[in-house]
Homo-oligomer: 352 residues x 2
Amino acid sequence: MQLDLTADAVTLTRQLVDIESVSLDEREIADAVEQALRGQGHLEVTRIGHNVVARTDLGRPERVVIAGHLDTVPVNDNLPSRLEAGVLHGLGTCDMKGGDAVILRIAATVPEPNRDVTFILYEAEEIAAEHNGLGKLASSHPDLLAADFAILMEPSNAIVEAGCQGTLRVEVRTTGERAHSARAWRGVNAIHRAGEVLRRLEAYEPRRPVIDGLEYREGLNAVFVRGGVAGNVLPDECVVEVNYRFAPDRSEAEAEAFVRKFFAGYDVSVTDSAPGALPGLDRPAAKAFLEAVGGEANPKFGWTDVARFATLGIPAVNFGPGDPMLAHKQEEHVPVEHIERCEAQLVRWLTA
Amino acid sequence: MQLDLTADAVTLTRQLVDIESVSLDEREIADAVEQALRGQGHLEVTRIGHNVVARTDLGRPERVVIAGHLDTVPVNDNLPSRLEAGVLHGLGTCDMKGGDAVILRIAATVPEPNRDVTFILYEAEEIAAEHNGLGKLASSHPDLLAADFAILMEPSNAIVEAGCQGTLRVEVRTTGERAHSARAWRGVNAIHRAGEVLRRLEAYEPRRPVIDGLEYREGLNAVFVRGGVAGNVLPDECVVEVNYRFAPDRSEAEAEAFVRKFFAGYDVSVTDSAPGALPGLDRPAAKAFLEAVGGEANPKFGWTDVARFATLGIPAVNFGPGDPMLAHKQEEHVPVEHIERCEAQLVRWLTA
């Protein structure tokens, strides 16, 4: 399959969608992307695994990253693509081959951008973090990712979503003593002790800090609860699994300290943690980008790969065609207008 | 295998223990019991399934039942029996072949009891209620079970445990609305809503009614809690499974009404219910029995098959050799002295 970078972005999106590329099966699409980019004389192309990095090297004072993942969630009777009344339907149209097409179009049609650009198309974003291509590059080739600002073309309704909130998962454990439920006074019920844990969660008031003019909204939620031994036994353990989504003005350590204090008196163990990312809208490249897209930006509540840039010290935003609520749904689709608008705004920013 | 009813009760216990009789595999032991009882000319013997009923028919004004189950929980490297320093070890020694041996000894050695006696040795007590031999007899041949008083020879440390508490199991369900945990304000967390359910349970004060001079102790306990969809989703359902153990002055309907009122405002559904049994220590046969064993009686907190007699209008007590806390344990055992004492006391009661 050859990609035609002279075609319009919607046609290119369809070409990308019709190359099946479920996570861990990205060879074909990465080959096509690599070949297409190597055909652009102004770009320096590097292939690492099924990740393709293409860079301009014009000696500009600023460098920006524009990145997108090539993989999709599993096929669900939603291929090939189908264009209908200005909307492109099919697996990956929204998450995120519309964004990938915009990246390839910019790479091909803006040979002399006003900022140096690093285009990154990577593998395995939809599965466990250990496989994530961007994460691997960040570890093995941080120099390749170096930049002043990054745009991740995850679906955001073609509106800038800046930064992202961090996520921390903890297990809050209560213990007791087993006893036959007919002789309850001989034991201590660990599930009853979890009542206070849930009561605190119910009374929790989320913090809503404003950062770079964007209001984030934290969240502290039980996502699982489990306990019980048998239908006639007082349980000696109960575990409440809690997910804390924290605004990017808090570090992972601060988030953990908050949760430990919140559950003071209980056994708290961290099972999972990922930092947030500051919006960084005060950086010159970001300011110019915001202007180019009309000045509108929202905070990003969910965790995305922008946080991987943040850990490299690179502020990053999500900005891509498609509604994020449609990602991973069988009926995912993207308005053609989103793709065209994203492309036009990025071109304006890089050529102004 | 032939049982020797002229042997002492301890020897007879060993004989019974050494006939493997895990639930649903009681043919051999029931055959042996049936054959031994048919050898007693003063008894009218009926075999139904692997249940053996043997009755005196002396026209006494009172009739009492003495009953025990023949099955055991699965073998756990604890057969054959082993007698050591006055303690008999092995599967079923405690639960409840010591009691069965006492029944067979009384049947053989007290041909003219002062009360008519119905001896019942039955199958499948250790598994799901649908298989229970006593339950089946109560349904199919209630006439065979008719009596003024019943003794179930379940292990009770050779001390009378009167009546039994009922048991009711309910699911208390909270519901909410799913949402991504990064956008918690769009949903309602069902696990948080269960906090109040657990809080009420923690504050619960058990009722301790005195019935026939015995103080019962109720219990209301969460035995399971479950909820959760995914690590990043607000759960839309949480279920707390609660076990109510209620004193025998409450009917099942009253127990259910209490629990529904206790969890007012929540969705409560009953999953399991079994009535308690009043001690009935005011009946003449029971009074005489209590005197014969020295007047000591404790309330029975756990549920046992005595409740099956209660549903037939027959007051019943637990009274048998062995520590009930050892039942179902690999190391179960019974003091020889318990077996001998139970036998002597029953003989005294039936011959006084």
